[in-house]
Assembly symmetry: none
Homo-oligomer: 216 residues x 4
DNA sequence: AATGAATGAGGTTTCATTCAT
DNA sequence: AATGAATGAAACCTCATTCAT
């Protein structure tokens, strides 16, 4: 009776939207400051909630970080796995799609900051490192690897050591991510990431084709 | 009987050796933990002194870090500048020497951890970033650049945009440093850094020669 | 049986009362120990809270001190200004009221310790000195001065240099404050501050009257 | 043989001069900063010696301070006692001499800073307070008192409570010292200390004369 | 579900004092 | 007699986490 029904409540039920907002805020803060230097208070303020609210959704800072990684990176890997499982064409085409999506969805976004952050701080947070290795690195490598195996099996690629080749293929992408997200003003403006990715993938695919295949 | 004559004194005076020991301890700690996460107490313990002793030699944490950088990295750049100034042979040979020394004296040592650290934490410590940019990055780039200019002037290299080329030349080395000093177990064991450097430099030099020169 | 139901909680929420309690504790500690020698931990303990709590309400030690001064002294000056603005009677009466209130509300209370503290430590804390000069000394002097100007304008006082007279009027009060709050056991017990104030004001007012006025 | 005899030695034997230099440096520093805020390192630097040297002459900071007080203030009291003991004229003349000397030798010099310092910090250093009370305040009061007693005994002064009168006589001098050495910019420039002292002493002596004496 | 006041361990820095040289 | 390197006990301040409301 006192308050009209449409009176703005002190806080708003967001229900399922809430966690997403918290994760978005956390991502931004982690990328800007790194893991250790990120203050939960800033994450909360950025999400427009109170510090305590974070703890309703995430056990602690590490779990919040893991959730960010799961939400954005692990999820993307899952989608890529799906693509691989369903794909029916030439493995070279598939590999190109996977690598380009990696760049577009992660490398070219603020998510690349997570990669940088992990390289920098993993030493100080062994639990996080363990988690990231299992959930991201190993799983990601497995994904690339599986495409290579598929390619060899189908005769799309010439036979090779797929584990080594996985490293060879991931390294440039990781490096480009570090590069574009580092403060270091090493005039990378000279290089267009998109062009770099195109060149790199073209070269790689060419090198993977069987000896008798026509150049891609 | 009570006190053995060689009872160790409460502390030992080290005089001139001290600063070096402190810097060595600090370097180790910074590389292992990063700047923010390094506790001065750990640096002190590692050097076998008390916390207060650090402050006899360095004004504060930032100055300690700067001293580490000056002692090891800036100093090395200075030596390289000397080499460039005195060198009399072909610029390709000089460039090779400079790049290999960079790798051998910094990239392949724990000093590469400083580079990694700066990429990771510069955002959080603007003063440090400023210092590092002026003392290391700009000065280092100027050094490489000067070799290229020299090469063009002498006809050792074909004409090119030396600033862009400086980026092109530094990028792979920086990346290799990041790579080999990152926790990320991206099976880089497959690649021998030395071989990588050789290959990279060989390629670069070839590309820099004037059109009519015999392949290196 | 194990835990009595009325077990006291780890901490108690005080909400709006808190700042006042903290300021009271801080005032007590500052007056007892001085600014530099006051440890925030003691202030906290005195207020029955933890060290960290202080920082929820005050940015740092200096801000805490300023808040104490504002809360008690600046506030009192404001009230006095109000009185002056609204007063309608003889300026001598007004001056007497202002000076007596100064003594009663500040000089005779522990707040006099703040005055003593500022005299002692201003040299070591330039920011504090600056603040105190602007917020207390200049403003207080302006207040007295305005009463004198009003008195001259209304013909209540004979013409005189109001700035000099302001000094003449404030000096004895400040001195009495120092005196009664100093440890120095210079048998001031012989003098009753109240009587001293009365005598001083009586004399001052007499001296300020216009030549032809009947002695007060 | 190696070093010519007149080679400047690493340090110079000053023998008895040393302590005086240290005390002078300490006095300056104590007056500028206060007791707690004075760093022994600054005292040492000011005296041109090392920190350790201070401890050869003074057990610790408190003893150093006591020595300063003894050297300058207690010593002056002793000289004044001597004067009183030997004086043969009218007690009014003697009292005037004693008070003026107090002002000239202490009040008008940086030594007045010691008085200010004691008022401000005695609470925090009970041992110092105790020392100062016994050696300076009580002894100083006894000195004044003795002059009053002598005056009454000789019929130079009318009978009165000499302890109370001692307070009455010392208060204005102490206040003037505080005043002139405080940062508080309470335009005391309007008052010339010398004139103030003259006026005060004149008034006091007049009040002390026996009823039938001719005005001084 | 949400808040935000409260906590307290942990980090950097200062400085009186000690002691090997 | 003199030095000055070394110590270590505080002091200020931060922030992840808890919990009464």
């Amino acid at each position: 009776m006192q308050a009209p029904p449409e009176a703005k409540p002190r806080w708003e039920r967001r229900k399922d939207a809430r966690p997403q907002e918290l994760l978005a805020a956390a991502l931004g803060q982690f990328v800007e400051r790194g893991f250790a230097a990120t203050r939960l208070e800033d994450v909360a303020r950025r999400a427009g909630v109170s510090k305590g609210t974070l703890y309703l959704y995430f056990e602690n800072k590490e779990e919040l970080f893991k959730a960010v990684v799961r939400e954005h990176i692990v999820h993307a890997i899952g989608a890529a796995e799906q693509t691989v499982a369903e794909f029916e064409g030439h493995s070279g085409e598939l590999l190109r799609a996977i690598l380009m999506r990696w760049w577009d969805q992660i490398g070219a976004t603020e998510l690349a900051g997570i990669t940088k952050l992990m390289m920098a701080e993993a030493n100080n947070f062994p639990d996080l490192a363990q988690f990231y290795n299992v959930e991201v690195i190993e799983r990601g490598n497995r994904l690339i690897s599986s495409v290579l195996v598929r390619g060899i099996a189908r005769g799309d690629f010439r036979p090779h050591d797929t584990d080594v080749m996985t490293s060879v293929l991931t390294a440039p992408v990781l490096m480009l991510m570090m590069w574009t997200h580092s403060f270091l003003p090493c005039d990378m403006s000279a290089v267009d990431p998109q062009a770099y990715m195109e060149a790199f993938i073209g070269m790689a695919l060419n090198g993977l084709l069987p000896p008798d295949a026509p150049a891609a």
